[in-house]
Symmetry: C2
Subunit: 249 residues, 2 copies
């Protein structure tokens, strides 16, 4: 039976007014905070005076181990992720490490607003009906698995949110993803592109797949590929659920 807890906390998309009160309360109550530098810098007041376990983007295993060690020594520890800690965040890695080497520590996930929700709201309401989220990072998922997933969701006519669509070096998989959607759903399909969502440099764009602006896609971009029911009207991108077909609104 675990004796200690460690918290995997989702900060939400970036602005404090979208962070859940529960996350804020737990962060305030912790004396040790572990996280990627960039996320820590977003909320300097919140983390002032606390012990910080920080490192760059790829240091997450070491960071989570150090956080678990701190929890073992009796400290109250939170490991932060942007968005939701349970969606491409640190919750799973903490559970995996705890199960192997820290069985006395329970990992509690504190959910947050995931980037897909924030970006959906900025664009309009593209996630009104069934959708998938797929990360294009091939760091831990083989490219052929990612492509198979893209083909599956495109064939199923699901709206698709692409996390980590490209980095400076990795620029081809986003082209593959858009091509798959062009073929399966059509060139006129609406797409949304949001960079730095809910942050000072926020950029929101919409386009069709025919005119997809590949050069605008970076590390901090999220892409939403629409489906056959996604429209762009009055400046809003949204997906029709079928009210008009059924009730003739």
């Amino acid at each position: 039976m675990p004796e200690n807890k460690i918290y995997a906390v989702g900060l939400g998309p970036g602005s404090k007014d979208l962070m859940a009160p529960k996350a804020l309360e737990i962060l305030r109550s912790c004396n040790v905070i572990a996280g990627y530098k960039y996320y820590l810098e977003q909320f300097p007041d919140l983390f002032a005076g606390k012990t910080i376990i920080s490192s760059g983007m790829t240091g997450e295993i070491q960071r989570c181990r150090e956080a678990l060690e701190a929890a073992r020594s009796g400290k109250r520890v939170a490991v932060i992720s942007s968005g939701d800690a349970g969606i491409y965040g640190m919750a799973g890695l903490l559970m995996e490490l705890a199960e192997k080497d820290f069985p006395e520590i329970e990992v509690e996930t504190v959910p947050g607003i995931t980037a897909a929700s924030a970006v959906g709201a900025l664009l309009g309401a593209p996630l009104m009906n069934d959708f998938a989220t797929i990360s294009l990072s091939d760091l831990m998922t083989p490219e052929k698995v990612i492509i198979k997933r893209l083909e599956g969701v495109a064939e199923a006519d699901l709206v698709c949110v692409l996390y980590n669509p490209a980095s400076k070096k990795r620029r081809t998989l986003i082209r593959t993803a858009v091509d798959i959607y062009r073929r399966a759903v059509g060139e006129e399909t609406v797409a949304g592109i949001v960079t730095d969502a809910c942050r000072p440099d926020q950029q929101v764009m919409t386009c069709t797949l025919k005119d997809f602006p590949f050069d605008e896609i970076g590390m901090k971009t999220l892409v939403v590929l629409g489906n056959s029911r996604t429209v762009l009207r009055n400046g809003k991108m949204y997906t029709l659920r079928g009210y008009d077909d059924k009730y003739g609104i």
Copy 2:
């Protein structure tokens, strides 16, 4: 150019400590609130003294029209949804109605923590990698489209969150969904079942697809079907991202 605004506000999964401060602030500032009765009753303090436009589950078109009329008359109006207003919520319907009959009113989506995030956190971290959300409600999406989507995501080995998995009358599609996953991913695949998430009667269960408890599934249940990388260890359901394969943690 729209002159007025109406807010589509996500309340989060049900407890006040998971509602975004922005949602709370907007609800406080509005004098008219429209929503499904059950959601209004969850936060009685918040809505006291306001004009309420309420109706049952299927009255949403009428409710949204009345809300838009109120906004047109100069009132400050919020239409509430549980979870995220942009994920199976009211944001899209409001945009559709505004585009047709209320072009002077802009719909702003205020995001919230969607049920998938809340349920994922209660189970562990099943949404750590790519996933899909599919609603099994056939009220507006034809059953054959839903089945095609289920087959697509199962073949692509995506974790799948089922919204509206069953009602009193609609009991067969959940069997079809589980059967599709049994065939594509295997009988030993882990599943999570959460009813009344973040509410007083909350129930959290895990099982394998072989032993899926169909009788436990109701209107207020969310089901998470794992993929080939989803495990149940130390009482937590989570999906491996591949750290162990790549780094041998």
